[in-house]
Structures are given as structure tokens and as C-alpha cells.
């Protein structure tokens, strides 16, 4: 066991505080808008805290550290792209400001306003499938992190996963977005302190000069120049730019923060400043990965980089960073860092649970009821359906997390599962907002071809992620253009729509 009683006490106090604060927030939930978008009351600073906390989890630290471990400094490229693209989206307000003006609660809701109810339903299904598959690997990897750092026996992994999930569910189901925002604020403070502490400790223990030398010796110039690295290159660069534009505008959990802000202007400020945090969100954990490579990268080569060897045991590259933390952090600091990582885990998972269950309840169940001509649900019944969806998503996460292991770098698996709906959604959203001729037929083709382009090459043909991702975005854009020209938009058929 790596944990001292002091470490356990710090973690225990954090968990108690977090769940209590979340449950207390219940009294502020009056309507479905309060439950899903916190009554659209987020100011700039609270918005930055909740958006950053939502998109920085233990899973983020793990996959970025793995990326740094495998690809050295060249891994910084996607981190740089994600931050810069976010700043551009925030400064221009492209998509996000218009979304906020429309007072949406979910991304697929836009598809009914601009296209048709049927397309909203299809988008809702694809968003839910892609999003839940994406989140499916979170619990297992987070459980691995906690067991390795704390020294809990690996046979308790399932118990750790279940405990994490139950704690998150407790306040998410009860308090909805208000609870998530309040806990996000506390969790943001803790995870930021942990991030800064670990960065200092990692560089101090590995030594900057040793880190540069290890990358140069192991990976050569490909460890610095992403265009020379066979995993990256120009196709990766363009795919990542497209992907991050779509993530920052159409990713349900990010978009929900934009919908929750007080005004379109606030949403732009939140996005811009969080963009700077995104630079650190990627690069700092990548530095931890490079430090772990320096300290433990002595095993046999796997895809060009040596496997980590810790105390005579050969580990997977993704487990190198937590193994390093278990060794370099002292008593007390380890407790603070693990509490920070737990905070990161809970803020991400609670937001994602709420995000995907909101899509199931608002964009699958409600449109289906309307198609079946059933009466509209009251606000209270909608919240109840959302809570049921929360439970359903949680159960799926447990089973998928236990039985599926991504074949390559986790970062790339997450990118591809996100692309299942992002490729089509991004094309449809851009078309719906900025191209008058975008039609419902084009929307259907974009969603179907985008999803097919992501699923079939990756899961069945095992093509590289770069080609798969690029193909999915290309097919989605092509589908929107082709469908819109083959069957043009009927301007009077959908009074709620109309491209502006």
C-alpha cells in the first residue's frame, strides 16, 4: 500500500465535501432548464471553471501522459491545436454564439430547429452511441490510475470503479447541472493544484536535460518534429484541426456549458480563456509522460518506444505515469494529488453522465413520444426520464469498461469514437447556420456517411486513425453537399428552420 493514513484522510475529506455540496445544490433545481443548463446563469469565471473541469479528468491526464510517453515532445502538436482552435472559436464566436442565442439545451435540438424531427432523432442516437462508447473506457483507466498510485490490490479494480461511479451518480442524478457546476468549481481548484504539483515533481525527479536526451536517444528527431513522426504528419495535422473545431462547437458536454452561460458574449469569453487552459491541459500531462519515459523506459520496444519497467514488472505505456507518481510523491502530497485526480475524474464523469443522458431523454425519448403522438411530458417527468437515462448510461459504462480495451493509444480511440457523430454534426451545424441551401436530405447523408466513415474503417478494417478521421469528415461534408443538391431545401416545409 502506497498510501499513508494522512493521504486517506485528505481523500476522504474531499469526497465527503464534494458529495455533500453536490447534494445540497438540489434545492436550486426547479425546472428542466435548471436541471440541464443551470437556468443559463453561468458567469465568465464560473463558466471557465466548469468547462475546464468538465474536459480535464484523470482520463485526460492518463491519455495525454501516454501520448507524451510514446511520442515525446512531438505529442505536443494535438495539445497546441486544441488550445489554439478553442481560442479562435472563442474570439470569433463561430457556432457557439449562435447556439447560445437559440437557447438550446442539447446539440441535436438544433437539428429539429434547422432540419427535421427525424434528423434530430438520428443525431440523438449517434451522439448517444458515440458519446457513451467514448466514455466507456474512462472508468477502467481511472480505476487503474487510482489502484496503481494508492497501491490498492488490482483485484479491487471493479470495486474502485463502482465506488467512483456511485459517488458521481449520487449528486448528478439529484442536483443536475446546478450540482455539477458547484462541484466542478471545487474540483477545478483541486485538480489545478494537483496538475501544478505533479508537473513540478515530475520534471524535478526526471531532470529536464535527461528528459530531452531520453527522447532524442529513443525516438530521434521524430520525438520533436511531428511532421517526421510516422504517427502524425500532414494528414494528422488537418484531421486534428477539423476534429477540434467540431469538438469545441458540437461536443455535447462543451456545448452544454455554452448553453448555460448568461449571454452569447459570456460564452465567447469562456471559450477564449479556457483555450489557454487547454494548452496546459495537454502539454503538462505530456511532460509527465516524458518524465515517466525517462525514469522507467527500459523495457522491450513496442511500436518504437520502450515499455516501462517498474520494480521488475513490465507495464503498459499508459500505466507508466501513475507508477511514477506512486514513487516520486511523498506522504500528504500523494493524498492531495489523488484527491485532485479524483476531483478531475468526478467532474468529467458527472458532466458526461448528464450530457449523454440529456441527449437520450431530450433527443431520443421525447421526439419518439411526439412521433407516436403521446402527450408532452411535464418538466418533472422530463427530469425523471433524465435520471433513468443516467442510471442506464452508468450501467453500460461498467460493463463496457470491464470488457473492452482500446487497441492503440487511448487518445486516438477517444478521437475516433467522438468522430462517429462529430463529423456529420459539424457539417450539418455549419451548413444549417451558414449555408442557405443545406437541406434535410443533405443532413441525413452527412450524419450517416460521417458515422459510417468513422466506424467501418476503424473497427472493421483497422485503418489508421488519421485516414479514418479524415475520411469521416470528408464523407460527411460530401454527403451534405450531395444531398442538398439532389433534394434541395423546401423553405416553407419547416417554419422553425431557415438558414440565416
Amino acid at each position: 500500500m502506497n498510501f499513508t493514513p494522512l493521504d486517506w484522510a485528505i481523500v476522504g475529506i474531499y469526497l465527503l465535501l464534494s458529495v455533500t455540496v453536490g447534494v445540497l445544490a438540489r434545492k436550486y433545481v426547479g425546472s428542466v432548464a435548471d436541471y440541464l443548463v443551470a437556468g443559463r446563469e453561468l458567469g465568465t469565471y464560473l463558466g471557465i471553471a466548469t468547462l475546464a473541469a468538465t474536459e480535464i479528468g484523470t482520463i485526460t491526464f492518463m491519455y495525454n501522459a501516454e501520448f507524451g510517453y510514446r511520442y515525446g515532445f512531438a505529442a505536443f502538436l494535438p495539445a497546441l491545436i486544441s488550445g489554439v482552435v478553442m481560442i479562435v472559436v472563442g474570439r470569433t464566436g463561430i457556432v457557439i454564439a449562435r447556439f447560445r442565442e437559440m437557447k438550446l439545451m442539447t446539440v441535436p435540438e438544433f437539428f429539429e430547429k434547422k432540419y427535421s424531427r427525424g434528423l434530430r432523432l438520428l443525431t440523438g442516437i449517434l451522439v448517444a452511441v458515440g458519446g457513451i462508447l467514448n466514455m466507456g473506457v474512462f472508468l477502467k483507466i481511472e480505476g487503474e490510475f487510482l489502484t496503481i498510485v494508492s497501491g490498492i490490490n488490482i483485484k479491487y479494480l471493479v470495486a474502485v470503479m463502482t465506488a467512483i461511479l456511485l459517488l458521481e451518480l449520487t449528486y448528478t442524478v439529484v442536483g443536475g447541472m446546478v450540482a455539477v457546476v458547484v462541484t466542478d468549481f471545487v474540483q477545478y481548484a483541486l485538480l489545478s493544484i494537483a496538475t501544478i504539483l505533479v508537473s513540478i515533481f515530475a520534471v524535478y525527479h526526471a531532470g529536464w536535460a535527461n528528459m530531452v536526451e531520453k527522447v532524442a536517444h529513443t525516438l530521434g528527431s521524430a520525438g520533436f518534429n511531428p511532421l517526421e513522426n510516422p504517427k502524425f504528419g500532414w494528414s494528422f495535422l488537418f484531421w486534428q484541426i477539423l476534429l477540434w473545431f467540431s469538438v469545441h462547437t458540437c461536443w455535447q458536454t462543451t456545448a452544454m456549458r455554452m448553453f448555460s452561460t448568461r449571454s452569447p458574449e459570456t460564452s465567447k469569453k469562456v471559450m477564449t480563456w479556457t483555450g489557454f487552459i487547454f494548452l496546459g491541459r495537454g502539454m503538462l500531462p505530456m511532460i509527465w509522460g516524458i518524465a515517466a519515459l525517462t525514469l522507467f523506459g527500459t523495457g522491450p520496444l513496442l511500436a518504437g518506444s520502450p515499455l516501462p519497467v517498474v520494480n521488475g514488472h513490465t507495464l503498459a505505456p499508459i500505466d507508466a505515469m501513475p507508477a511514477m507518481l506512486a514513487q516520486i510523491l511523498g506522504p500528504g502530497i500523494k493524498g492531495i494529488v489523488v484527491a485532485g485526480m479524483l476531483a478531475a475524474t468526478m467532474s468529467v464523469n458527472s458532466s458526461y453522465l448528464l450530457g449523454w443522458s440529456a441527449v437520450i431523454s431530450q433527443d431520443i425519448v421525447l421526439p419518439l413520444r411526439q412521433i407516436m403522438r403521446k402527450p408532452q411530458l411535464s418538466s418533472r417527468r422530463q427530469i425523471f426520464v433524465n435520471r433513468l437515462a443516467n442510471l442506464f448510461v452508468s450501467l453500460f459504462l461498467m460493463f463496457w469498461g470491464l470488457y473492452y480495451t482500446p487497441p492503440g493509444a487511448v487518445y486516438l480511440y477517444l478521437n475516433i469514437t467522438g468522430t462517429i457523430f462529430l463529423a456529420g454534426a459539424f457539417a450539418c451545424v455549419l451548413g444549417g447556420l451558414y449555408w442557405k441551401k443545406a437541406s434535410t436530405t443533405g443532413g441525413y447523408l452527412a450524419m450517416i456517411l460521417g458515422a459510417t466513415g468513422a466506424i467501418v474503417p476503424f473497427f472493421f478494417f483497422h485503418w489508421s486513425e488519421n485516414v479514418t478521421g479524415f475520411a469521416a469528415f470528408g464523407l460527411a461534408a460530401g454527403g451534405l453537399l450531395l444531398g442538398s443538391f439532389l433534394k434541395p431545401r423546401q423553405f416553407d416545409a419547416n417554419p422553425a428552420g431557415g438558414a440565416a
Binding site: 436550486y28 426547479g30 425546472s31 432548464a33 435548471d34 443551470a38 437556468g39 443559463r40 446563469e41 453561468l42 458567469g43 465568465t44 469565471y45 464560473l46 463558466g47 471557465i48 471553471a49 475546464a52 515532445f73 512531438a74 505536443f76 495539445a79 497546441l80 488550445g83 437557447k103 446546478v178 457546476v181 458547484v182 468549481f185 477545478y188 481548484a189 489545478s192 496538475t195 501544478i196 508537473s199 530531452v212 532524442a216 528527431s221 520533436f224 518534429n225 480563456w273 489557454f276 487552459i277 494548452l279 496546459g280 491541459r281 495537454g282 502539454m283 503538462l284 511532460i287
Partner: protein, 49 residues
């Protein structure tokens, strides 16, 4: 190689400094935002729907 290294180091320093700075500002000023959100939700002033 060294040019790429300098480029990444510059990015890393920018990323680290802005991360710390924004974190401090957000923690200090976010408390005001939290209080304002609770006040408006309690009074029912929020933009419903």
C-alpha cells in the same frame, strides 16, 4: 531538431504560466459568480427554457 525543441519549450512555458494565472483568477472571482447564480436561481430570475 533543436528548433522544434525551442518551439515546444516556448509553448510549454506559455501553457504553464497561463494555466497558473487563469487558475488563480478563476478561483478568486468564480466565488462571486457562484453567489450570483444562487441568488438568481433562488429569486427565479433565470432565463427559463
Amino acid at each position: 531538431m533543436s528548433r522544434w525543441l525551442y518551439f515546444w519549450v516556448a509553448n510549454l512555458i506559455l501553457a504553464g504560466l497561463t494555466f497558473v494565472l487563469i487558475t488563480v483568477v478563476v478561483i478568486v472571482r468564480g466565488i462571486g459568480d457562484l453567489k450570483e447564480m444562487f441568488r438568481r436561481l433562488t429569486k427565479g430570475e433565470s432565463e427559463r427554457g
